[in-house]
Symmetry: C2
Amino acid sequence: MSEFAAPSSRARIRRLPDRAAYDADTIAAILDAGVVGHLGFVVDDQPYVVPVLHARVGTAIYLHGSRASRAMRVLGAGAPACLTVTHLDGFVLARSAFHHSVNYRSVVVLGRAVALTEPAEKMAALEAFMERVTPGRWAEVRPPDARELKATAVLRMDLGEASAKLRTGSPHDDEGDLGGSAWAGVIPIRTVAGPPDAAPDLAPGIAPSAAVRTLLARFGAERGD
Amino acid sequence: MSEFAAPSSRARIRRLPDRAAYDADTIAAILDAGVVGHLGFVVDDQPYVVPVLHARVGTAIYLHGSRASRAMRVLGAGAPACLTVTHLDGFVLARSAFHHSVNYRSVVVLGRAVALTEPAEKMAALEAFMERVTPGRWAEVRPPDARELKATAVLRMDLGEASAKLRTGSPHDDEGDLGGSAWAGVIPIRTVAGPPDAAPDLAPGIAPSAAVRTLLARFGAERGD
């Protein structure tokens, strides 16, 4: 994968720069590990932040939604946008209230979106989208028809102005607090999936498919016991 | 808890209004179930979305951060803000690509923040903050000293313009797709915590405290087996 651009002035991380990363692999890995992002846009000076699904392909990130949604309309018209993807990895418990923190990984993408208009291009993006979230699923289901495709807005944002910020590891306590009696350390946090809950109208005898099993494996399926 | 205000025009949910909720209990439950929110603000027409920790107390929500952080400075100066908290609850796999979805709960809070200035008020807010995320922890650790308190910005946002949006349940497939061979249903998603990872510099013989065990229980601690 090609490198993203060097951080622009406004994409540069100012606070705690030792937690910053701008390399393409780190940014891609954080984006790819997530499913839900938070998309910011502005209407009448008021910022709005809405949850969206996202999928990275190379140095672009795709978003989609109803053509009727305000976020899709505003962004499709070229308004400045910000997409942020965050993973909470753990609670950091220190001996002092002040040094409590969380371990996390986040990426902030600044830029303007471009709305895809060609049906074939939209179809390819939706396939890539589904394959990123649920590999193998596209071939298992009915693809969008012309009406569905028309009702769906697909946006592309470039990762040129992207930056990552993360914290890992143990608490950093002040020297004077180390002799205290409080427990200190990290409580790791992770997301797990499963078990599958079949639709009530699913025909008898249809087991979870290969794509479903792949999705479960991606999110470390919970044991059934 | 008192009721929040009726939705303002700009807080009203336009798309898929059957997924909307404005009642205080629903909004409070979604906020309280989350730890990380996404805060939107605007600088030079560019929206920024940054992850923040949040804690609700009554009909207010508290945020905190370094006094030096841009988000705290911009919001503390009274800029329009948006705080969004989202939980991903499951992947909704339908027989058609178009009807794939996710189950989620989200709350969007619009408004302007107020920066707390009185040290006693800030201290009380920080205690409330820690107690919401990690009940019992405040009494176990060293509280902030005057320097730490001064370095910490604490903001309060009112929940007057808050709305919730959520999706639950099975996929909604088109009649004509029900006879297909694809598996359909929901893959539930949840967050789990643990096991605790003690700090390398923790003195021997200090076991995870009551607050740590409470935090683990809140997030359904993983089995160690």
